[in-house]
Assembly symmetry: C2
Homo-oligomer: 282 residues x 2
C-alpha cells in the first residue's frame, strides 16, 4: 500500500487525536505519524500504545515538514493552536481541526496572514464517547460516521480535497456546510441533547434515581461525559445553543400547557410527529 | 420441574403481556398459561408464537380458576379491567398489573368489595422497548430488571409474596414502595426522560436532523416509542410528571442564566455533580 501522506501531525493525544493517529497508522495512510502533546506524561501512553512514529511536546517541531496537521485539542485551545502552528506550516501544508464548534477556530485561521499556500479547513468528526483520553481511543472510531467540514469562500479546493481524503480514509462520510449551519445544527443535535441529559440527572432526586432503568440510563448516557470538555463546548457555542435551548423550552412549555388543559389528543398528535421523525433516523 | 402455579392468566397480548406469558411457559412456572385479548386478531399471533396454552376474548372465562391474574393492558384500561375481572376471581386468587402508573389502578382495586380472599397488588416491571405488540415480546425481557410493587396497608402479605414470586421467577429483582413514591420516582426517571426525548426531536429542524449522530440517536431512542401508549402514561401520571417537569425546567432556566452571565465555572461544577451521579448508575 502506498501511503497517502509522507508525514501527518496530530496535535492532542486524547480520545480523538489518539484515534486519528492510530487509524492513520493502522491503515497505512501516512508514512510517519507525529503526535504532539503538552506534556511527556500525556505522550507516554501514546508511545506505549503504538499510537505514533514520533512524539514531541514542541508544537513547532511537530508541525514542521508535515503535509497535514490535525488539531485535536480541547475546543477552547484551538484558536491559540491555529495561531501558534501557522508560522511553522510547511509549504502547501493543510491545517485542520476536530473541534465541536467552528465559529472561533475558523475566524482565528481567517485572521492568519497568507503564506506559502498553507491553508486551513475547519473539521468536525461526528464521533466520540463519554470516555476520554488516549486510553479510550479507538482506530475504528470514525468508521461509518459523518465528518463535517466548514470551508469558507477563501478555502482552496485542494485543501478541502485533502481533508476530505483524511476522513474518508478513516472510514467516515464527509459533508461540507457553512460555519453557521454547522454550529446551529450541532447545537440542536449534539450540544442541547448533552445539556438535556445533564439536566435530567440534575433534576432527579435520590429516591427516583434508585429506580433508574434502561430508558433513563440510555437517555442520560452522555451525562457521564467529562464536564470540562462540555462546559468548553457550551461556552464555545453559546449563541446557537441558547437559540436551540429556547426552541426546546418552548416545546416543553407548550406541552405543559397541554397537560394542564387536558389537550391529550393534540399532545398525542405532536408526539406522533416526533416519533415519525425519530424513526426515520434509524 | 414442579410448576409454581396451576393456572396463570395474562390479560393483554402485547409486548409486556406476551413477554410474561412466554417467560412463564418457557420457565415452566405455570401448568397452564391463559392469554386474554380483546379480539381474535390479537390472539392469533400468540397462539402461532406458542405464547399460551389457551387464549380467549372472554375476560370472565379467562380469569376464572386462575390463581394469579396479570393485567398487561394499556394503562388507561386498567381500572376498568380490575373492576371487570374482580367478580370472577377464584377463591384466594391474586390480581396484579404491569401498568407504568399506580395511583388510579390501586384506587380502583381498593374500591372493589372484599370477596373470598381475592387480593390486588399493584406492579410495574421496569422493562420495555420502543417497539410494541406481541411480535416484539421477549421471554427474557424481565431478566436482570427491577420490578416495583406498590402494596398498601390493606394488601395481604400472602398476595405480595405471590407477585414477588412471579417477577423473581421471571428473573427480576423486586422492590416494594408506596404508590406515591412509585409515581413520583417513575415520573422523574422514565416519564420525563421520554417527554424530553420527544421534545428534543420536536425542537430540531430538518437541517440539524441531517447531522444526527450517536449522541442524538441514543438520547432520543425512546422517542420512537408508540405515542398513544405514552400520551396515556403522561395523562395517567400528570400530577407527578408536571412536578418533575417543573424541576427540570428550573434546572434548564438556571443553566440558561449561567450561559447568559458567563458563569462557566459554576456551570461546570453543576455538570460535574450530574456526571458523578450518572456514572454511579453504570
Amino acid at each position: 500500500m502506498t501511503a497517502r501522506w509522507e508525514r501527518v501531525t496530530v496535535v492532542g493525544p486524547g480520545l480523538i487525536g489518539g484515534s486519528v493517529a492510530r487509524a492513520l497508522r493502522r491503515r497505512g495512510l501516512a508514512r510517519r505519524v507525529v503526535v504532539v502533546g503538552r506534556s511527556e506524561g500525556g505522550l507516554a501512553p501514546v508511545r506505549a500504545g503504538g499510537g505514533a512514529d514520533e512524539t514531541t511536546t514542541d508544537l513547532a517541531a511537530g508541525v514542521r515538514g508535515a503535509a497535514l496537521v490535525v488539531l485535536c485539542a480541547p475546543l477552547g485551545s484551538l484558536p491559540g493552536l491555529v495561531r501558534a502552528a501557522w508560522p511553522h506550516l510547511a509549504r502547501g501544508a493543510v491545517l485542520t481541526d476536530a473541534g465541536s464548534v467552528k465559529r472561533e477556530v475558523v475566524a482565528a485561521a481567517a485572521a492568519c496572514p497568507a503564506r506559502d499556500g498553507a491553508a486551513f479547513v475547519g473539521g468536525h468528526p461526528m464521533a466520540g464517547s463519554e470516555r476520554s483520553g488516549f486510553g479510550a481511543s479507538d482506530p475504528d472510531l470514525f468508521e461509518g460516521r459523518l465528518a463535517l467540514l466548514t470551508p469558507t469562500a477563501e478555502t482552496p479546493e485542494r485543501a478541502v480535497a485533502e481533508v476530505t481524503s483524511l476522513w474518508e480514509g478513516l472510514g467516515s462520510q464527509v459533508r461540507c456546510l457553512s460555519v453557521e449551519a454547522h454550529d446551529r445544527g450541532v447545537a440542536q443535535i449534539s450540544h442541547l441533547p448533552h445539556l438535556a441529559a445533564f439536566a435530567l440527572v440534575a433534576a432527579a432526586d435520590g429516591e427516583a434515581l434508585a429506580l433508574a432503568s434502561r430508558g433513563f440510563t440510555d437517555t442520560t448516557r452522555i451525562a457521564a461525559s467529562p464536564e470540562a470538555l462540555w462546559a468548553d463546548i457550551f461556552r464555545g457555542n453559546r449563541v446557537a445553543l441558547l437559540e436551540a435551548l429556547g426552541r426546546y423550552e418552548a416545546v416543553l412549555a407548550r406541552w405543559r400547557e397541554r397537560f394542564e388543559r387536558g389537550e391529550w389528543s393534540a399532545l398525542e398528535a405532536e408526539l406522533a410527529r416526533a416519533r415519525e421523525i425519530r424513526e426515520k433516523l434509524g
